[in-house]
Symmetry: C2
Subunit: 768 residues, 2 copies
C-alpha cells in the first residue's frame, strides 16, 4: 500500500522527498507516453539503487520462445513480448569528476517530482550534496511530444550552489538493453550501426526474429543561464552505444542546462534505409521549434484531449486525482491514430503479461474510447481485429476447426496467439463473443453501419462459424451444449455450459444472421463481395440457427437464476462474507484446485452477460442474479468491480456502487496490491471510467439516443463527465440536487433522462 | 517401429549387424541393471555417433528447480530427477595410436550384440577395419552383479587379425556428466577427489543440494591369450576423471583382454568418509572371486529369479521373447531388497518422467512382485509409502487439508511431490486410493495382517481423512460429491464425480473403518499406540461414514452404466471405430481442449474400478460397462491394454484379450511408438505379466485360496506361469486341451479351478 504517499492534487501526481525504496513504484506511477512510445519514469542520470529501466515502442515486439513445464498440443511456439527498447533518456552527470548518483549522495533535499496530467509533462527538482561536498540544484523536465510523436524532449539543469564546479553532461543512447522477463535469455536486439553528425547521435538497431529496425537518436544543446552556448564535446562510441561528453566550468549560482531532443523512428513507419535520415529530420524540426514552444504545443494537445474526456469530482481531491490519473494513463497508452496498435494491460509502464491485446480492449476499453474520442478511434480498434481475421482462422484450424471458423487469440501482438495455458488459451473462448459484441456496441453508439458492411460482417461470420462448430448436440439434454470452457471467471476451468459463453455464442449467431440479412437487403454489392469471399450458403446458416435456437442454458428453479455452469450448485456455497478473512485473497492463500472447486468468482461472469445484454432482462432478473452471484465474488481481478458498480447503481444501491468504484479508482496510486512497481493496470482504468459514466451517470444508448439515469454517491457534492456522441460533446454535471446538461456542439440534441426525452441546445445549460 | 530388427530367440535379445541409426534405441533395449544400479547399453570405447549415455544409481536423485510457464499456488519448488551418474564403463582403445571408434571405422563386420536374459549378461562382438587398415576382432562381455550389487564387470578383448599392433587400453572413470533434461542447466555433480592406488582408481563426488556422496571406482587387470600379465601403466588425472593407460604390443592373432571391475559405493549405504575404502574392498573381493566365477554366480542368481517368475509360451518364439524381456527388465529395475527404492517408469534406461514412483507401482507392479518374489518384496513397496506418510500429510496441508489427512504425491523420489501440472498434481488424487488398495491386495494375497497392524492402518486413516475432507455435501444432489478431479483417464481434467475416484474414496473409508475395528478387537496394544498417535475419535469416524454412506455416483438409467463423470453423456459419443483413422493417435493429432471434450478414454477408468473390485459386481455388470466404455477407449497409455485384456478374458472374448495382450507385450522390442531410444516402459511391463496370469490364467484370490479360470488364446499351443503363493510356487501349464498344476513346495495346497476345489501336492502334476 502506498496510501498518502502521493500528494493530493487536482491535476498532478506529486511526490515529495527522496525515498530509494519507492523509486521502482514511482517509476511506474510517473510513467509518460504518447501512444507511439512510452517509458517508465527512470532518472536521466546514473542511478545505482534498485530500478526497473523500461522504454517501449508501440507495436515493436519479440516472439520469445514459449516456456512451459509440460507441452500440450496446440500451444503456440512463441510468446510475443513488449520489447524493452534502447535507452534515449540517459544523461550521465559528473560534478568535479564525481559521477552524480542520487543513491550515493550524502544528502538529498527538497526532492519533488510532478507528473502534470493537464499539460502532459514530468518534472523533477532537488538539491543534492555529493560525496565531494559539492551541493547542486537539479531541475529536469521531460515530455513525450503528442505532436511529434517520434520525439521526447528533456531539459536538464544543474546549478552548483556552494562552489564553482566543473560540470560534465554525458547524454547517451544505449541499445544494450534486455527484457526482465526473457524466457531463455535470448538476445532481443542487434545493433547495426553507431554514428554521429554535428550535435546528433544515432544508434541503428534491429530486433531479432521480427526484424523491426529502429533508429534511436539524440540532438543535444547546451545553455548557460538560459543562453545557448557552444561547447566542444568528446564522443565515445562502442558497439551498442554513443555518448557525447560536454565539459563546462560553471560558477557558483550559475545554471548549466542540457536540452536533449531524442526518440525513435521505426521501420513500421519509414523505409528501413531512411530511418536515420528520418530521425535527423524530426529532431532538427523539434530543435527548430524549440523546447519551449514544443512544450506549449504539448499543453494545447492535452487540453484538446481533456476537452472531450475530463471528469470532475467536486470537493474530493483524491477521487478527482484518481479518475484523472486513469483517463491520463489511458490516453498516454493509446490514442487511436494507428489501427495496428492496441491497449496493452500494462501500457508502456512494464513488461508483465506480454502481448498488447486482450479481450479487455473490447469489453472495457472501447466504451471509453468511443465516448471520449472521435469515432474513428473505436473503429480503428475494430479494424485491428479485422486485420487479424486471417490469423484467427489459422489459429482455429490449428485447434481442429474448419470452413473459415475463427478463434481470435487470448493474448496477441500481431494476431497470432501467444498465450500458453490450455485452460485459458484453448478454453477461454468467450473472447470471440466480446469481439462480436464490440462491433454491435460501436454501431449502437456511433450509428455508423459502414464498418459492418465493409469489414465487420466477415468477422461476424467467422465467429458464428466457430460457435456453430464448437457446440455439440447432447443426446442426453436434447440441446446444444458447449463443453470444456473457461468463462470470464477464471477461477473455474474446463467447465461445461458456462452461461455467459453459451449466451454470447447464441447471440453471436443471431447477430451475424441479422446482419447478413440486412446487408443482403440493403447493400447488394457488399453482400455479393462478402458471400463470394466466405462461401456461405443458406443451408449453412440454417445449421447455425439450429444451434442458436436450441442452445442449452442451465437454470436453477430453486434459486431462479441461470447457473454459471452445469455443476455450480454442487459446490459448497459459503459466501465470501462467511469466509474467514485470513483466507483472502484466495489466489494467494489457496492451491489452484481448491480455488477451482470453490464457489468463488474472480470477476463478473453471469453478471458480465447481464451487463452486455442489460435490455434482454428485467431489473428484477438482474437483481435476482446480482443477489445470487455477487456474494460469491471475490473481485480478485481489477476488471471486476466496475461491472458490479454499474449494476449496483442501476439497482439503486449507491453505497455499494461507490464502494466498488473506490476499489479500482486509486488501485495504482495507492498501490493496493503492493506491485505497482511492475507497472500500472491500464485496461482496468477504463473500468473506473465506466463506473462513473455508465454506473453513476447511467449513460446508455436507447432508441439511438444518448440516455442517462444520473445518480450520485452521498460522499460527493457533485461530479461531471463528458460524452462525445456522434461528434457533439455532451457535458453532464450531476449534483446532489439536480443534473445539468450542456451541449458543446452545433446541433440540437434529444437525449433521454430517466427515460424522458430532453432536448439540449448548443452552449446552453439544461437542468433536470 | 523396430519390427523384425531384434532376432527372435527364446532367452536372448539379439542384434546382428551394425547400424549407427539404431545405436540409441539399442542402448535402451540392451540396458542392464541389478536393482541397485543400472545403465544403458553404451559402448565401452569412444563412440562419436549419436548416443545417449546413461548410468543411474537407485535412489540417487537431484531436485531440479521447477520450470513452468505459469505458476499455480501449490506447485512444488522442485522436480526430483533420476540422476545421470559418473561413467565407469569407459575403456578407450587405441590401435597403433588411432582412437578406435565404431562410427569412423572403414568397415564393421559380424557385429552381434546379445542380452542374455536367462543369465543376466550383455555381450558384443565384431570385426572392425580401422582407418589405418588394422583389422581387429573385439569381444566384450559385461554384467552388473546381483551378488555384489556395487560391482559391474567387463571383459574387453581385442585381437588384431591382419597385423601385429600396438594396442592401448585406457579404462577411465568420469564424473563430468550431465542430465539430458536439466531445467536450468544446473550442475548436478561436484567432484571431491580423484585418486588411485595400485590398479585401482577412484573418483569421489557428491550431488549438489541432495549431498549424496558416491565413490566411483575401478580395478583393472590385463591378460594375454587368457593369461594374466603385468603391464606398466600411465595415469592421467584431471579434475573430474581418472584414466589408466596400458600399452601392449600384440602379435597378429593374439588376444589382449582388459578386465575391469567397477561400480559405485554410495553414502546411502556407507559412511561418507569410508566410501573409497568400501569401493576398494568390494572391488578387491570381486577380483579375488574372479570374472569367471562371478559370472557363474550371476547365472545362478538369475536362475533363482526365473525359478519363481518364468512364463513360457510354446511355439511362439516372439511372444516368448517378449514376455521374458518384460519379466527380465522388471527384475533389473527393482528386486525389492531396499524399502527406500521403487520402480521408476523408465527404470535405469532413461531420464524421461523424472521421479521414481507413480501410482503404477501400486496399481500394476505390486501384483507381479507379490506373485514372483518373497512376500517381503511387496511389503517393502508398502513400507516405502508408510515411510513417506509424514511428507504426504505435509503435502496435503500445503493444499489446505488438515488433521493428519494425507495426499501421497503423484510423482516422487523421497516422498515429496515433484510434478507440476495442476490438473495432475492437485487433481489426480485417485492415487491415494491405489495406495490403500495395495494394502488390501497385499493382505488378500499373502494373508500377512501384520503390516496393517504395525504400519498400514496409519496410512489408511490418513487417506480416509483426506477423502472425508476432499468430498463436499451437495445440497442440490443431497449426496457427497468430489469435485474437480482427474481420473485415470487423463483425457478428462477437472471433472466432477469421477466414478472411479468416488468409488475408491468410499471404499477407502470403509476399509479403514473395518480395519480400525478389527485392530481394536484383536490387537489392543497396536490399537492404543496408533490411536494415541493419530488422535482419532469415534465422532470423527462417524463423519467419515456419513461421507462413505452417502457418496454420489452418477448412473445412466438409459445405458445402465455408472457414468465416468457427471457430464459424460453430454459429449459427442462417436466410438473409436467410427473415428477417422487419420485422427489417431489423438494425443498427437488433436489440441488438448479437443481431447478433453471428446469421449475418448486414454486408459481404463470406470473399468479400472471394475478391475480392482471385480467381486463387487456381476459379470453382467462388467459386460455392460465394458461394452459401453471400451469402444471409446483409445488405449494411448501403455497401462491401458492389460486391464482390458484381463476383462476381455473374463468375458470369454479371447480374441480381443489376445489382441490387447499383443499391444504391450513387445511394445519396446518392436518400438511401436518410435521412441524406445528414450528408454523402456518398465511399469507397463508388469501389465503384460498381469494379462497372462490374471487374464489368460484367471488367477485370483478367493476365500484365501489361489483361484484360476484358465483360458488360452487360439494362437498358442500352450503356456505356463508360476505363482509364489504364501511361500510355495505353483506352476500352471495351460494347453488347448487341459491345465496342469504343479506345486514346487512342501505342503499340500488347496486351490480353486473354475470355482472347484482342487488339491495339489508337492512335486506331482494335477491335470484339470
Amino acid at each position: 500500500m502506498n496510501h498518502d504517499y502521493i500528494q493530493p492534487d487536482n491535476w498532478s501526481i506529486i511526490e515529495e522527498g527522496f525515498d530509494a525504496s519507492r523509486v521502482k513504484s514511482s517509476e511506474s506511477l510517473f510513467s509518460i507516453g504518447n501512444g507511439a512510445m512510452g517509458q517508465r519514469a527512470n532518472f536521466e542520470e546514473h542511478y545505482s539503487g534498485a530500478t526497473f529501466q523500461g522504454s517501449y515502442i508501440a507495436g515493436v515486439y519479440y516472439p520469445d520462445k514459449t516456456r512451459v513445464g509440460w507441452w500440450k498440443n496446440g500451444y503456440p511456439d512463441y510468446f510475443a513480448k513488449v520489447l524493452n527498447a534502447p535507452n534515449w533518456i540517459g544523461i550521465n552527470v559528473l560534478i568535479n569528476d564525481e559521477q552524480f548518483d542520487l543513491f550515493t549522495c550524502k544528502k538529498v533535499d527538497d526532492f519533488r517530482r510532478e507528473l502534470n496530467m493537464k499539460e502532459g509533462w514530468l518534472s523533477r527538482s532537488f538539491k543534492a550534496t555529493l560525496q565531494n561536498d559539492v551541493v547542486i540544484k537539479v531541475e529536469a523536465l521531460r515530455f513525450l511530444s503528442l505532436d511529434l510523436d517520434e520525439v521526447g524532449a528533456i531539459q536538464y539543469s544543474v546549478t552548483p550552489l556552494n562552489t564553482d564546479a566543473k560540470i560534465e553532461f554525458r547524454p547517451y543512447l544505449d541499445s544494450s538493453i534486455t527484457n526482465q522477463d526473457t524466457n531463455w535469455d535470448d538476445k532481443f536486439w542487434d545493433t547495426l550501426s553507431v554514428t554521429h553528425q554535428d550535435n546528433l547521435g544515432f544508434v541503428l538497431s534491429r530486433t531479432m526474429k521480427t526484424d523491426f529496425h529502429v533508429s534511436t537518436a539524440m540532438l543535444n544543446e547546451l545553455s548557460l543561464n538560459g543562453e545557448k552556448i557552444q561547447s566542444n564535446k568528446k564522443i565515445k562510441e562502442d558497439i551498442n552505444s554513443i555518448e557525447f561528453q560536454y565539459n563546462v566550468e560553471v560558477s557558483k549560482g550559475e545554471t548549466i542546462t542540457l536540452t536533449k531532443f531524442a526518440g525513435y523512428t521505426v521501420s513500421t513507419n519509414h523505409e528501413k534505409e531512411k530511418l536515420i535520415t528520418a530521425s535527423k529530420e524530426v529532431l532538427l524540426k523539434a530543435s527548430t521549434i524549440g523546447f519551449k514552444v514544443l512544450l506549449e504545443q504539448q499543453k494545447q494537445s492535452w487540453a484538446n484531449i481533456w476537452k472531450k474526456a475530463d471528469i470532475t469530482i467536486q470537493d474530493d481531491i483524491k477521487a478527482q486525482q484518481g479518475i484523472r490519473f486513469n483517463i491520463f494513463q489511458l490516453n498516454q497508452t493509446y490514442l487511436g491514430k494507428d489501427a495496428r496498435l492496441n491497449i496493452g494491460p500494462k501500457g508502456f509502464t512494464g513488461e508483465k503479461y506480454g502481448g498488447s491485446t486482450y479481450w479487455d480492449t473490447e469489453a472495457y476499453c472501447i466504451p471509453f474510447y468511443m465516448a471520449t474520442k472521435d469515432q474513428k478511434v473505436a473503429r480503428n480498434l475494430l479494424e485491428y481485429r479485422y486485420n487479424h481475421l486471417e490469423k484467427a482462422i489459422l489459429n482455429a484450424e490449428k485447434l481442429g476447426f474448419s470452413n473459415g471458423a475463427a478463434l481470435f487469440p487470448m493474448v496477441t501482438m500481431n494476431g497470432e496467439e501467444c498465450h500458453n495455458e490450455w485452460e485459458i488459451t484453448f478454453e477461454e473462448i468467450h473472447r470471440n463473443g466480446a469481439i462480436a459484441f464490440a462491433i454491435f456496441n460501436y454501431y449502437r453508439f456511433t450509428g455508423d453501419y459502414s464498418y459492418i458492411q465493409e469489414k465487420g460482417l466477415e468477422v461476424l461470420i467467422a465467429i458464428a462459424r466457430f460457435w456453430h462448430q464448437r457446440a455439440n448436440y447432447s443426446l442426453s439434454k436434447k440441446k446444444w451444449v458447449i463443453l470444456g470452457v473457461t468463462g470470464p471467471n477464471e477461477y473455474e476451468n474446463n467447465i461445461d455450459n458456462n452461461w455467459y459463453t453459451n449466451y454470447l455464442a447464441q447471440w453471436c449467431i443471431n447477430f451475424a444472421v441479422e446482419n447478413i440479412e440486412k446487408i443482403k437487403a440493403e447493400f447488394d454489392t457488399d453482400y455479393t463481395r462478402i458471400m463470394n469471399k466466405v462461401k456461405l450458403s443458406n443451408a449453412e446458416i440454417s445449421t447455425w440457427k439450429e444451434v442458436a435456437d436450441n442452445m442449452y442454458f442451465a437454470f436453477s428453479e430453486e434459486h431462479q437464476v441461470f447457473l454459471q455452469q452445469d455443476n455450480f450448485l454442487d459446490k459448497e456455497l459459503i459466501t465470501v462474507a462467511d469466509l474467514d478473512k485470513s483466507q483472502r485473497p484466495i489466489n494467494q492463500k489457496w492451491s489452484w484446485d481448491r480455488i477451482l472447486r470453490s464457489p468463488y468468482i474472480k470477476q463478473a461472469d453471469v453478471l458480465q452477460g447481464f451487463y452486455f445484454f442489460e435490455d434482454h432482462f428485467t431489473t428484477e432478473e438482474l437483481e435476482q442474479h446480482f443477489n445470487f452471484y455477487e456474494p460469491f465474488t471475490v473481485h480478485e481481478s481489477s476488471l471486476s468491480p466496475c461491472v458490479h458498480s454499474i449494476q449496483a447503481a442501476k439497482l439503486g444501491r449507491m453505497d455499494q456502487a461507490y464502494e466498488f468504484y473506490l476499489r479500482t479508482s486509486r488501485l495504482d496510486l495507492d498501490d493496493y496490491n503492493c506491485e505497482v512497481e511492475e507497472g500500472l493496470h491500464i485496461t482496468s482504468m477504463a473500468g473506473t471510467w465506466m463506473s462513473i459514466v455508465e454506473g453513476f451517470g447511467g449513460m446508455r444508448i436507447k432508441k439511438e439516443m444518448l440516455s442517462f439515469e444520473p445518480r450520485i454517491p452521498n460522499q460527493w457534492e457533485a461530479y461531471s463527465f463528458k460524452v462525445n456522441f456522434r461528434n457533439q460533446v455532451v457535458k453532464v454535471i450531476v449534483s446532489q440536487s439536480n443534473t445539468k446538461f450542456e451541449l458543446e456542439g452545433n446541433t440540437e440534441l434529444q437525449i433521454l433522462v430517466n427515460d424522458k426525452v430532453v432536448t439540449i441546445s448548443p452552449n446552453s445549460l439544461v437542468t433536470v
